[in-house]
Amino acid sequence: MIIIMIIVILPFMFILSIIIISKIGARDTAIQLSSNYSENEMIEFFWDIILLTESKFILPFYSNSRNFKSLQKLIVKNIGNLLNSLIHERKLNSSNLNYHWRKLGTRYTLVYLPLFFKDLIWCKSDSIYFHVILPQVNEIDDSSTTQLEKKKALTQNSKEWLLALLELAESLNLTMLRLYINRTDIDNISTLLRNLNWIGGKLVPNEDRSNIQSNDNDNCNEFNEFMLGDEHFVIIEFEC
């Protein structure tokens, strides 16, 4: 089983690595970034990873290119705040951080499990949580055969990909794994959900939107935190 993983670690340490889950567990092999790309291009690439990961939490209603641009501004600003707080050892001033997915990651990871998921898996982590946003299976633009294969992989091989993710989280020294599964895929993951207690997982409630506050005090950004949400995901948590 091969996991190809790209990791972005803040503040701006970039690692491209390939994890090989072999018979004896996980082996992490760092490889050099391609010399075909300039440093600037690579930085832009890593910014894209951060942005695309965070954009998974845009509520479907607000998901358009204009808002995407606004989200970009918000992320850049928030990353600046995060870096400042890290460098100056100051506490971040935000009331919405009780919901762990709202925190910016200190590490962004792009995982590719080609045996199980055709698409990339977007992940971010802090010092405790490994947030894994599983690719959506019910996409419209696929042929029915591919759909069927994808559904099969998601349900029948859940032990394999779940174990791979647990091993990965553990190798990153994280203690909890949170899977974000699109609600449109809920039927496809029923087997996983029905065995959840059995394999030590639990359902995590979505956030309480009535308690969200906008932290954008200067109102310079059209995009605000109300436009982000986790309600289109079913969230399940595992110990690593």
Binding site: G25, K159, E167, L193, N195, S210
Partner: protein, 455 residues
């Protein structure tokens, strides 16, 4: 110690022989009734719950709530837990499967009082996570009494078991054996085999357990890695309706025991017959187990263990929940919102195929506990006048998943402030506090003991 004598057919009676006092004491156990012996009272399965005690407890709590002055949280849903029920069920276990040591599946209900009661009864524990192991060890339970049967163990889980000296664990693939060799080589291992679970409500073998055709390779790996294989485990899934799968699984286990000897591995000592036992069908399923064990594992060389969960707790808990909102659709149809749901104590709906039965507990200033026909999910033609109210029942969140039942029929037109109760809701229900959409779904548990309180 007791052993079982029975003929090899699925006959209607068995003879239990109790060797505890050095002399054999025969008790004839008929298939249709469990008889009392001189020391303990037993209960025919399935039997009625201790209604009087449960009702009194529900009534007392609800009457203590003053709607006008109650503090936040007082109207929360709550459980009534009958600890005496655990004892009754254990007595029945000992009657039906006297030579099978139960390891209670903690995941089924990790309530501390329940765990303590089971511990005092001498029941061991099956843990699926680090936190479950911690919880059980914090009760000063010897790690020897724990099996770590999570079928999806990452390396860190195995290392953790090693640090806590939990030796017993299961495996079903070569990769896991390599991890065990590296992190916990002294493990007492059970090879988990797949079973036919096609009739089970919660199928496990489709994902967990190795096929018999793979057993030889796995045993060879055990031999090559010099690991300590002590037994075979299987799990026919929860809610199985066809118990021949149990019989077949015992037969398959015999094959693995014999294969070990053939391959020069040390003789296996333990057979773990898993879980999936249910209150309603325990008598039948245990009969099949007894027959199979007698046929394939005669004598007393092999020890037997099991991982029951819902058998012990399902009937021990009753949940009461308050109607907090109502949306009238027509004169006879409404959506009722109660203060508990899948994100609270009823996640069993989503994850365990359970269909909780809502019964009317309190309506129009009267208690209706004893009206066991206050609701139905199947409306017959003649029942329309009996059950005039059609309802769907929802949890307190705005989440479409938080549905308790899409269609039920009630005798009464419930209003906000009325109460439902859900009997037999002890298995795979969560007692964790989970704030969601402003609702703090913390629940109290009121404990009764129908055995002691009856004295």
């Amino acid at each position: 110690m007791a052993s079982v004598k029975l003929d090899h057919s699925l006959g209607s009676s068995i003879t239990l022989v109790d060797f505890d006092n050095g002399s054999a004491k025969d008790m004839v156990v008929d298939s249709d009734s469990i008889v009392n012996n001189s020391n303990t009272k037993s209960y025919k399965l399935p039997y009625e719950p201790a209604h009087e005690f449960i009702f009194n407890s529900l009534k007392k709590r609800i009457e203590s709530i003053n709607e006008d002055t109650c503090a936040p949280g007082e109207e929360n849903s709550f459980f009534v837990c009958d600890l005496g029920e655990l004892e009754k069920l254990y007595k029945n276990w000992k009657l039906e499967l006297p030579n099978v040591q139960p390891f209670y599946a903690v995941k089924c209900n990790p309530n501390e009082k329940i765990l303590q009661t089971l511990d005092q009864l001498g029941i061991n524990f099956d843990c699926a996570s680090k936190s479950e192991i911690d919880k059980v060890l914090s009760m000063n339970v010897d790690p020897e009494r724990i099996i770590y049967a999570n079928p999806c163990k990452a390396s860190s889980f195995i290392r953790y078991a090693q640090t806590k000296n939990v030796l017993k664990s299961t495996f079903d693939n070569v990769e896991e054996l390599h991890k065990i060799k590296k992190f916990h080589p002294n493990s007492e291992l059970f090879i988990r085999i797949a079973t036919d679970d096609s009739t089970a409500q919660c199928r496990l073998s489709t994902k967990y357990g190795c096929e018999l055709s793979d057993v030889e390779n796995l045993l060879q790996a055990v031999k090559d890695l010099d690991l300590n294989l002590v037994g075979v485990a299987f799990h026919v899934g929860s809610g199985a309706s066809d118990f021949t799968s149990l019989y077949q699984a015992v037969k398959d286990s015999r094959y693995v025991f014999d294969k070990c000897i053939e391959m020069g591995l040390p003789e296996l000592k333990i057979l773990d017959i898993g879980g999936g036992f249910q209150f309603e069908s325990f008598h039948e399923s245990s009969k099949v187990v007894r027959v199979a064990l007698e046929e394939y594992f005669p004598g007393d060389k092999v020890k037997f263990m099991a991982e029951p969960g819902r058998y012990f707790v399902s009937t021990a808990l009753t949940l009461a929940s308050n109607v907090i909102a109502k949306r009238t659709i027509s004169n006879n149809e409404a959506m009722l919102y109660i203060n508990d749901g899948v994100y609270g104590n009823m996640n069993c709906i989503l994850f365990d195929h359970q269909e909780p039965i809502p019964r009317i507990l309190y309506h129009n200033n009267e208690f209706h506990y004893y009206d066991f026909e206050s609701s139905t999910n199947m409306l017959k033609k003649n029942d329309v006048s009996k059950y005039p109210q059609k309802v769907s029942i929802w949890g307190p969140t705005c989440d479409g998943l938080d549905c308790i039942t899409k269609e039920y029929y009630l005798k009464h037109d419930l209003e906000v402030g009325d109460w439902f109760y859900f009997p037999n809701l002890g298995a795979y229900t969560s007692t964790a506090a989970t704030p969601f959409n402003g609702f703090q779904q913390h629940s109290d548990t009121l404990y009764i003991n129908s055995l002691k309180d009856a004295l």
